[in-house]
C-alpha cells in the first residue's frame, strides 16, 4: 500500500500528491442545499457538476440534486450567458424550484461570466418568474478550497436575503459551519432545550439525511427558509462556528444589518463547547438548562474515566481547519499529543490557533497548512504515531503504516454514521471521544499477547 512513498522528505514546489482539500464549488453546492427548496446550479461544464453531485452523494448516501449549464467548447469561447438563460427556462418548466443558487466553476470564472447581470436580464425578460429567488456565489476552483466555497455561498445568503425591518427580534443567528446534518440538528436541539429562538443557516439537516418513505422529494423538508433568512438582519446577534467557514457571512451580516457577531471555534470538546455556552449566556442573558449542564458532566466524566488510554498518545491529524483546531484542543485536554497536524487549506487561523494550543504541551509538533497527505505520510514513516485521524483518504496511510485510524471530517465514503451521529456540543463530543478511545482499545485487544489479554479495560 502506497509503497512508492519514500521515507525521506523531498521538497516539492509544484507537485501536489494526495491532496487534503478539494475545490470551491462543491462546498458552495453543499451550503446551498441548506436552503429550503433550493436547486443548486453549477455554471460551467457538466463534468464539475457531475463530480460534485457524485462526491456529495457518496458521502451522504442521499440524492444530491443540481443542474448544470453544460458548457461546450463554443460556450467557452462566447461566454455562458445563453446557457444560463436556457438553463433557467428548462429548470423552471421542469423542476420549478423556489430558490436557485448559482455557483461558478473554474471555467466560467476564467471566461469572466458576470452572473448578476445575466440573472438581472433573465428576470427582466421574464425567464425567471415572479416570486422566485435566485442567488449566486463566485466560486473559482483555483482560489481557496471547498471551505472557501462553502463560506462564499453562505455569505451570499446574507448578501442576497438578509433584511432589516427596523424591529429587532429576540432571536440569534447560528451559522453551524461546514458540518454534518447531524451536527446542525444537535446544535438546534441544544438551543431548543435552552429555549433560545434561532435562525440556523445553512441547515442541511432533513435535506441530506432524509427518511426513507418510498417517495423521492426533489425539495426535502429541511433547509432554512428564505423567510427565515430574511429575518436574520433583525436578530440579537450572530454566532458563527468555525472561522474559516462561517465568519464571512457573520461579518457580511454586520456590515449589512449591524447585527453583532461572535466567531467561535466549532464546539468540539469540553472547552470549545463551554465557550459556545458562555457566549449564548452573554447574548441572551439566560442560563443553560440542567439538561445541558448534565450533558457537560457526562462528557467530563468519560474524560476522567478514560483519559489514561489517551495520555501521551502520539496522534497525527489531517482535516479542515475548523474541525482540526478544536479537535487538537480536545485531545490535548485528555493528555494526548497531536504531533503532526496538517490541513490542505491555507489558513492563518489554523496555524495560529494550533500553535497556541500545542505550543507548551507539544512543542515538537509539526503544524502545516496548505499541505497534502503525502507529506503527512512521510512524517509518519519517519517517526510513527499511535493514531491517525483524518477523512477517508487516510485509510491508505493507516493500512500502509498499520496505525489505528479514526475517520473524521469530510469526506467519508466507506462508513456510515457520520451524517447521523453528531460530534459537536457536549453530547457530540462524547460520541467522538468514545470513538477515538474505543479505536485505541480495539487495537490494544488485537495486539496484546494472550497472557495480558484483559477482560476489563
Amino acid at each position: 500500500m502506497l509503497d512508492a512513498t519514500p521515507t525521506t522528505l523531498v521538497e516539492r514546489k509544484a507537485l501536489r500528491v494526495n491532496p487534503a482539500k478539494t475545490c470551491q464549488p462543491i462546498g458552495a453546492m453543499y451550503s446551498a442545499l441548506g436552503i429550503h427548496g433550493c436547486l443548486p446550479h453549477s455554471h460551467g461544464s457538466q463534468g464539475c457538476c457531475s463530480y460534485h453531485r457524485s462526491h456529495l452523494t457518496r458521502h451522504f448516501r442521499e440524492p444530491i440534486m443540481a443542474a448544470t449549464s453544460s458548457f461546450t467548447e463554443g460556450t467557452a469561447v462566447f461566454g455562458g450567458g445563453a446557457n444560463l438563460r436556457q438553463a433557467f427556462k428548462t429548470i423552471y418548466q421542469l423542476y420549478d424550484p423556489p430558490v436557485i443558487a448559482v455557483t461558478t466553476t473554474c471555467l466560467s470564472e476564467t471566461i469572466g461570466d458576470d452572473i448578476p447581470t445575466i440573472v438581472r436580464e433573465a428576470r427582466e425578460s421574464g425567464v425567471i418568474p415572479e416570486g422566485k429567488t435566485v442567488i449566486h456565489a463566485n466560486t473559482p476552483s483555483y482560489v481557496g478550497c471547498h471551505i472557501t466555497g462553502w463560506s462564499n455561498m453562505t455569505a451570499s445568503m446574507v448578501k442576497y436575503l438578509s433584511e432589516t425591518s427596523g424591529e429587532s427580534r429576540n432571536q440569534v443567528n447560528l451559522i453551524p459551519g461546514y458540518v454534518e446534518p447531524s451536527d446542525t440538528r444537535e446544535l438546534k436541539k441544544m438551543l431548543t432545550t435552552w429555549g433560545i429562538d434561532a435562525v440556523t443557516f445553512p441547515d442541511t439537516s432533513d435535506v441530506v439525511d432524509t427518511p426513507q418513505t418510498g417517495h423521492f422529494q426533489m425539495y426535502p423538508q429541511g433547509g432554512t427558509t428564505v423567510e427565515a433568512l430574511k429575518t436574520t438582519g433583525d436578530s440579537l446577534a450572530t454566532i458563527a462556528l468555525g472561522p474559516e467557514a462561517s465568519s464571512q457571512a457573520a461579518i457580511a451580516l454586520e456590515a449589512k444589518c449591524q447585527v453583532p457577531y461572535h466567531i467561535l471555534d466549532l464546539p468540539i470538546g469540553v472547552a470549545a463547547t463551554d465557550r459556545l455556552v458562555q457566549t449564548l449566556m452573554d447574548v441572551t442573558g439566560t442560563q443553560p438548562t440542567d439538561e445541558i449542564v448534565n450533558a457537560r458532566g457526562r462528557l467530563v466524566d468519560v474524560m476522567t474515566d478514560m483519559q489514561s488510554y489517551l495520555y501521551e498518545k502520539r496522534v497525527a491529524i489531517a482535516g479542515d481547519p475548523d474541525q482540526v483546531v478544536p479537535l487538537v484542543e480536545m485531545l490535548v485536554t485528555c493528555g494526548a499529543k497531536p504531533v503532526y497536524v496538517i490541513t490542505g487549506a491555507e489558513s492563518k487561523y489554523f496555524r495560529d490557533r494550533t500553535q497556541a494550543i500545542l505550543g507548551e504541551s507539544v512543542p515538537e509538533a509539526v503544524i502545516r497548512d496548505n499541505e497534502d497527505l503525502f507529506y503527512l505520510h512521510q512524517l509518519m514513516k519517519q517517526e510513527p504515531v499511535d493514531l491517525l485521524i483524518s477523512n477517508v483518504y487516510g485509510k491508505y496511510i493507516a493500512r500502509a503504516e498499520d496505525v489505528p485510524f479514526v475517520r473524521y471530517g469530510w469526506p467519508i465514503l466507506d462508513r456510515v454514521g457520520h451524517s447521523y451521529f453528531p460530534t459537536l456540543g457536549y453530547a457530540g463530543s462524547l460520541h467522538l471521544l468514545c470513538t477515538i478511545i474505543n479505536t485505541l482499545l480495539e487495537r490494544k485487544d488485537r495486539d496484546d499477547p494472550d497472557e495480558s489479554f484483559e477482560l476489563v479495560l
Partner: protein, 531 residues
C-alpha cells in the same frame, strides 16, 4: 432476449408523450429524437446520440476529462498521471472508479495516488507551464515511473498552456515517455470526447513503440475497453488462459506501460467497450494489420459466445476443442450455482442506464438470470452503439465533435503483418466476424424503450409508469431511485462488489442482484399503520 416484453407499444408510447410534453416545446422536440420505442418490424429505427445536453437538464453526463483521465488513461497503474489544473478534477477522479491493479516485476503501482499541479489564481493569471514542468520533474525524481501523463482540465485550455510542448520537452530531458492529453472538460458533449482523445494519445505514443519486443507464438490477444472494475479483467484472463489464449496487453484495466508498448505483437484485438476504445482497435488494424472483434464477457452465454468467436478467428481445431472443454466445465460449475438465484429472479424487470456499452453488455447477464430489460440507454454513446456499425458511413460529424483531433495512421512498412491467411480473412469477412457490432437496439424486444442521455425528469416518469424491480445506473441516481423504493445496482463502479465478468462473475452478480431485489428491508419502507 426474445421473450415477450412485459410492457407494450401503447403504454410505452403514452409514457414517452408525457415525458416530452413536460419540457419547453423546443427542448421536448429535441428530446423526442433521443427516445425510441422498439418495433422489431421496423428494422432501421434510428436515434439521436452524442449531441449536447440542454442546459438546466439534470443529466448523468460528465466531461471529456472524466473520459480521458478517469476512464481510459487513469487505470494504467505503473504510470504517474498528473492532472494539470485546479485541485478538484484530480481529487474527484481519485480512486472512485475501482480500477484494480497488480504491480508487475518492477513493483511500481501508482493507482492509489493522486497527482495534480493544484493551480492557483496566480498560475491562472500568469500561466501554469513553469509549474507543470517542475511538477513533471518532481514526479520523476520521487517516483521513477516508466512514463508520465499530463491531463488538462477546463481552465488550462482557456489560458493556453502548451502542455504538449512542455511534455515533449520533459520527455526529451528525462528520457521517458511524457504524454499530454488536451482533454479539457468542455470538449465534446460528454466523456466520449475524452475517450477519443485518450485513444489518440495511446496510439500516437505507446502502441508499437517497444521496437525490440520479440514476437510471441500462439493465440495472442489484447483486451480492449475493459477497465478491471472490481477485478473483472482477472476473471476474464483466468478463463482465457485456461483456454490457452495469451493476453499481451490490456487497455486499460490492470494495464501497464511496457505491455501497452508491446500491444502490436498480438494477433487479435478483443473489444469489450466499443464506445471507449474502438478508435485504437481501428488504428491498430490499419497500422499493424491486427484485426478486431467485438466481444462481451458479461454473462454466461455471452462469454461462451465470445470465446467461440475467438476460436473461430484462430480457426485451429486444437483451440476450438480446448475452448469447448473449458466452456463445458465452467458452464456446469456456474449453472449449478445460478439455479437458485434464477428461481428467485425470473420474470423481474430491469432498467439500465450506463456508459456507452454496459447498458447492452449487462442485458445478457440479466437474461441469464431470467430478468428482462425493458428500458435501456447510454449516457454518452454514439449512434453506432445503438444502431450498429453499418450506419457509420452515414454519420455526420457536428461542431462539437469536429474539435477533437482525428488522427490518420498509415500502414507500418516493417511491422504490418496480417496474422491470418487471405482465405481466412475472406471467410471472416463473409461471416461478418470482424469489425462488426450490431449495437444495442436489435437485442431489445418489442415495446421496450431506448433512451439516450436520460434526464432526471425522464427517469422519474419511467419509474412511476413501469415500476421496474431493479435499475442499473450510477451513483448520482442511486439514492433517488432507492428513495422510490426500487433497488439500484451501480453498474459503473459496481457498488463495491465484483468481479461480475465471466463465469464466476456471473455468480457474484446473481448474488448481488438477489440481495438487492429480494432483501426483506424493502417491505419496511412503508410504516405498517399506513396500510
Amino acid at each position: 432476449m426474445d421473450a415477450p416484453s412485459p410492457i407494450d407499444q401503447t403504454t410505452t408510447q403514452t409514457a414517452v408523450k408525457d415525458i416530452v410534453e413536460a419540457y419547453p416545446a423546443k427542448v421536448g422536440k429535441k428530446r423526442a429524437k433521443h427516445i425510441v420505442v422498439r418495433d422489431p418490424n421496423e428494422p432501421e429505427q434510428s436515434i439521436d446520440a452524442n449531441v449536447r445536453t440542454t442546459p438546466g437538464i439534470i443529466t448523468q453526463r460528465g466531461c471529456a476529462f472524466a473520459g480521458c483521465k478517469g476512464v481510459v488513461i487513469g487505470p494504467i497503474g505503473d504510470v504517474v498521471h498528473i492532472v494539470h489544473g485546479p485541485v478538484g478534477c484530480s481529487y474527484y477522479s481519485w480512486l472512485i472508479r475501482r480500477n484494480q491493479f497488480r504491480a508487475r516485476a518492477n513493483g511500481r503501482n501508482f493507482v492509489n495516488y493522486c497527482f495534480t499541479t493544484d493551480l492557483t489564481e496566480h498560475d491562472i493569471v500568469f500561466g501554469g507551464m513553469t509549474k507543470l514542468r517542475q511538477a513533471i520533474q518532481e514526479a520523476y525524481d520521487i517516483f521513477q515511473p516508466p512514463a508520465i501523463t499530463v491531463h488538462a482540465t477546463c481552465p488550462v485550455g482557456l489560458i493556453g498552456d502548451d502542455i504538449q510542448g512542455v511534455s515533449r520537452e520533459m520527455s526529451e530531458k528525462l528520457g521517458i515517455s511524457v504524454v499530454a492529453f488536451n482533454c479539457e472538460g468542455y470538449k465534446g458533449v460528454s466523456q466520449s470526447a475524452g475517450h477519443h482523445i485518450a485513444n489518440n494519445g495511446i496510439m500516437k505514443n505507446w502502441v508499437g513503440t517497444d521496437e525490440g519486443a520479440e514476437e510471441v507464438e500462439g493465440y495472442t490477444v489484447n483486451l480492449m475497453g475493459e477497465y478491471n472494475i472490481g477485478g473483472d479483467t482477472w476473471e476474464i484472463e483466468r478463463v482465457l488462459e485456461k483456454c490457452g489464449i495469451e493476453v499481451i496487453s490490456k487497455f486499460s484495466g490492470d494495464g501497464s506501460y511496457d505491455e501497452t508498448t508491446q500491444a502490436h505483437l498480438a494477433k487479435l484485438n478483443l473489444v469489450m467497450c466499443h464506445r471507449s476504445i474502438n478508435y485504437v482497435s481501428e488504428m491498430m488494424e490499419t497500422k499493424f494489420g491486427i484485426p478486431w472483434i467485438k466481444v462481451n464477457f458479461i454473462g454466461v452465454n455471452s462469454f461462451a459466445k465470445s470465446l467461440r468467436k475467438i476460436a473461430e478467428v484462430f480457426d485451429d481445431p486444437k483451440l476450438t476443442e480446448r475452448v469447448e472443454t473449458v466452456i463445458a466445465e465452467e458452464m456446469a460449475e456456474t449453472e449449478a450455482q445460478l439455479a437458485t438465484y434464477r428461481e428467485r429472479l425470473t420474470g423481474k424487470t430491469v432498467f439500465l442506464f450506463v456508459g456507452g456499452s454496459r447498458a447492452h453488455h449487462y442485458q445478457g447477464l440479466f437474461a441469464d438470470l431470467g430478468m428482462k430489460t425493458i428500458v435501456a440507454g447510454y449516457e454518452f454513446a454514439h449512434r453506432d452503439d445503438y444502431e450498429g456499425r453499418d450506419i457509420l458511413p452515414n454519420l455526420k460529424i457536428d461542431a462539437d465533435s469536429r474539435n477533437i483531433e482525428e488522427i490518420h495512421v498509415k500502414q507500418d512498412p516493417e511491422r504490418y503483418k496480417r496474422p491470418f491467411s487471405d482465405e481466412a480473412f475472406a471467410k471472416m469477412e463473409e461471416n461478418k466476424t470482424l469489425k462488426d457490432y450490431k449495437g444495442m437496439m436489435p437485442d431489445m424486444g418489442e415495446g421496450t424503450l431506448v433512451v439516450d442521455n436520460i434526464s432526471h425528469h425522464e427517469l422519474d416518469v419511467l419509474i412511476e409508469r413501469f415500476k421496474p424491480d431493479l435499475i442499473g445506473s450510477g451513483i448520482k441516481d442511486k439514492y433517488i431511485i432507492e428513495k422510490l423504493g426500487i433497488p439500484c445496482k451501480q453498474l459503473h463502479n459496481y457498488d463495491y462488489g465484483g468481479p461480475f465478468a465471466g463465469f464466476r462473475g456471473a455468480v457474484n452478480f446473481a448474488k448481488d442482484v438477489d440481495l438487492r431485489v429480494n432483501t426483506p428491508v424493502w417491505k419496511y419502507v412503508k410504516a405498517p399503520w399506513l396500510n
